[in-house]
Subunit: 478 residues, 2 copies
């Protein structure tokens, strides 16, 4: 059977992914090394994802703010683990002017900065500096801040959406009076991420704590939500960190307690990024292109009038009219009245993953019926119903698609979790090519033999089992 | 009379502005030279401004996208005027790694980039590069793109919101088949900006074309909306450029016409930024702090229960209940039940410019009345009405405040426009200290004598008179 995307997922998952991005017109590589351009259709998905996340962030009592893009190099010196983790591959700003020298524009030697800046790879340091001034007494706590910004980490092996040098994200930074509150909040934001993945992205996760080996640079505890792709690989889709007093001590974030004692505060940070889009695509898309959950679909319904020359005008306006009625129900609807051939339109919107396709021909118009097809199911879901039935049920159809996409992904996730009792068993499975998450006693992984498997099979510890932290999930990952 | 902000506007407008920003908790200078941190209250205003603008941008058929932060230096070489205008003071990225050398982190000499990048000061070049691939035939036109991003221009004399090295903005970039369409669209976006300033920011503008001396680097025509501050100085609040074929030729943006002929396209660009916030503050704020138009006020109404110890709980919950009812009308309402003293609460929200203050004491609760005060008018507007009246009229009060704030600003603007017949008259007014916009024959400004006045009085040509382009408006500006 011919598919819209070649190769198929089964043939070559990684090439399929690249071609999917082209076919659905989501993004492209840019002339800037490791950076991508997100095209309008891709960005429209991100705006919906962002708004859903922002709603939850605000409901959690967090305020948005905006901190500088550049960070004085010196700030990275202050937190030793953080330096090691982030100061390595980053963009360094060393000059503030260009000059035409020998006919080419070059950094002006007279405009060299005494102290260089780096483009933020993450903002714990510069936000910590502000917090040290904003937090004075227990009355100022908790302080919960978030920003939606671009960050940069120089990537040697970039891959669109999954790993790019520049990416867009939200980074939350909270301060508390006690460790207990800070840790509880880090877990609360972690739970918020899991809920978001489920209800917005229709993406099941494995949620748990990172092992010490995989923690964020400068954290006491890192909580992660790990998604599982159709090829069985893991994707870290969001993390929440209990930073202990590391940053409070490095940046002097102190408060006067109600007991009159000056003491260090406790901080957390938590983030999700455009990387989630890569997960969204690799969890749901198929060999014909994108499959979008209705909550984040720029168009939830596309109406395609199957026009013949003699009936074009009346059919188009009939379709527009139906579109207007569906929009009144707060649905995002596109009526495609462009002059492409109907099969081309159909494939265009299949590739872009519109959840519900509505086709109307001249006969359907006469009978007040429409032919609908669900993108997530395809041909087998095709049926002809009355226009009134469509209007009455459209919102419910969206909900059903959202729920069923989640259930399908959950079933897949569950099929990709394997218990292994020993390292030998783990290696046997890996050697066989078994994909997915392997659940194994964490203690068994603390040795050179396991390091050998990491090396050989490119696996890593994804997170501890939330129900029994003596077990760890191990998988290949993006 | 004691004012919340000292000095007052009359005493020292520029210091008043700095202190206003502190008093209203809007922003602060950051440790990064020329860059500011926008605090939660300031950012909440920006989010509302951004959403109102974004709605209009989308309604104009423009799609949001996202292009890289970094621009290869070489791109600036391609458009001669653009180089001259923008390549001078910018942040240059020369390395992609840091290294610990002699105990301090420094750019790693082994990680020097062969070709340096600059942080975008504006994105005509890198978006032009994409457009050259995205535009192939007349069917691809018009193509209308926008992005909401941060940009950077190294500023030597930064001033919060008005001129900072990094700032947030929207930059629109459109491509058309003909010059006629491009120019009409540049004017359409210009008109959209003027409408936005009026209906969202309650800010009247002088809208017109820039003279050739003041055009954007690389534009054939620049259309500007100039606001006028309370001190009579101008603020360029938004510009829309007809770029002719400059960028189409530099970046090879060509299309195959329906006549089968390959030809260069015509481009426009248009932008507004966080700079508008500075205008918003300097147009409406007074000696007691911010005065916000309801459309962009994070809280449109603040309810302050005037509690005495014995009645605190019942009064607070009565106030919360009233707040809930007002929120049902889609109003943004804060019920301030913190344990600050009532006068302190009152001043806090006066300084932050909340359009309507609602005070409720124990007696008012008993009588089902409230005491309301409009921020834009102050004490004279204070009146006691029934709770039902407040609920019935709150939405209308917001509309009235919005309209009256505009009318007040318009009256001020009109008082600040002066016709002058000769350069001698102009100099006389400037020497006297007359503030505002001076309308003079453009031809009279094309000589060394006028250049002398520019030098001496720090004035500039703001724009041509839209009704009679043989006249130009001249003013001091931010």
């Amino acid at each position: 059977m011919k598919t819209a995307i070649t190769p198929t997922r089964a043939e070559n998952f990684s090439e399929w992914y690249q071609n999917l991005i082209v076919a659905a017109d989501l993004a492209e590589n840019s002339p800037v090394r490791g950076c991508m351009t997100i095209k309008p259709y891709g960005w429209a998905i991100w705006e919906l994802m962002r708004d859903e996340m922002d709603k939850r962030i605000k409901a959690a009592g967090v305020q948005n703010a905006n901190f500088p893009l550049l960070i004085p190099i010196d700030y990275f010196n202050r937190e030793a683990e953080h330096v090691a983790g982030f100061a390595k591959e980053c963009a360094v700003v060393t000059h503030h002017r260009l000059k035409m020298i020998d006919g080419t524009l070059q950094p002006d030697p007279d405009a060299k900065l005494t102290d260089a800046y780096i483009i933020r790879p993450t903002s714990e340091t510069i936000i910590g500096e502000s917090m040290s001034r904003w937090v004075q007494s227990w009355r100022d706590l908790p302080l919960k801040l978030n920003q939606w910004v671009n960050v940069m980490r120089w990537e040697m092996r970039p891959r669109m959406f999954l790993r790019t040098s520049e990416f867009n994200w939200q980074e939350g930074h909270n301060v508390f009076a006690t460790h207990e509150e800070a840790n509880a909040d880090a877990r609360k934001m972690h739970a918020m991420y899991a809920e978001y993945m489920k209800n917005v992205l229709a993406a099941p996760v494995i949620a748990g704590e990172k092992t010490p080996e995989e923690r964020f640079a400068g954290a006491d505890h890192t909580y992660t939500v790990e998604q599982i792709m159709q090829d069985g690989k893991a994707l870290q889709a969001g993390t929440s960190h209990d930073l202990g007093q590391h940053f409070a001590k490095s940046f002097d974030i102190k408060y006067l307690g109600c007991d009159g004692k000056l003491q260090y505060a406790w901080t957390t940070s938590w983030g999700t990024s455009t990387r989630m889009m890569g997960g969204l695509f690799m969890i749901h898309a198929d060999d014909d292109g994108l499959v979008l959950p209705p909550v984040v679909a720029p168009y939830q319904i596309v109406i395609i009038p199957i026009v013949r020359e003699e009936s074009a005008d009346s059919l188009n306006s009939y379709a527009e009219n139906l579109g207007a009625k569906l929009r009144e129900l707060n649905l995002r609807v596109l009526v495609d009245t462009t002059d492409m051939r109907a099969p081309d339109k159909m494939w265009k919107w299949i590739k872009r993953g519109v959840p519900l396709r509505v086709e109307i021909g001249a006969r359907e118009m006469e009978n007040n019926t429409v032919t609908i097809t669900r993108r997530d199911i395809g041909k087998e879901s095709k049926q002809t119903i009355t226009t009134d039935e469509l209007i009455a049920n459209a919102a419910d159809i969206m909900k059903t698609i959202q729920v069923e996409m989640y259930e399908r992904a959950l079933k897949h996730r569950n099929s990709q979790i394997h218990d292994v009792a020993t390292l030998a068993d783990l290696e046997k499975e890996l050697a066989k090519g078994t994909t997915g998450f392997f659940r194994i006693k964490y203690d068994l992984t603390k040795n050179a033999e396991f390091e050998g498997l990491i090396e050989k099979y490119k696996i890593s510890r994804r997170c501890l089992d939330n129900d029994d932290p003596s077990f760890v999930y191990v998988a290949k990952s993006y």
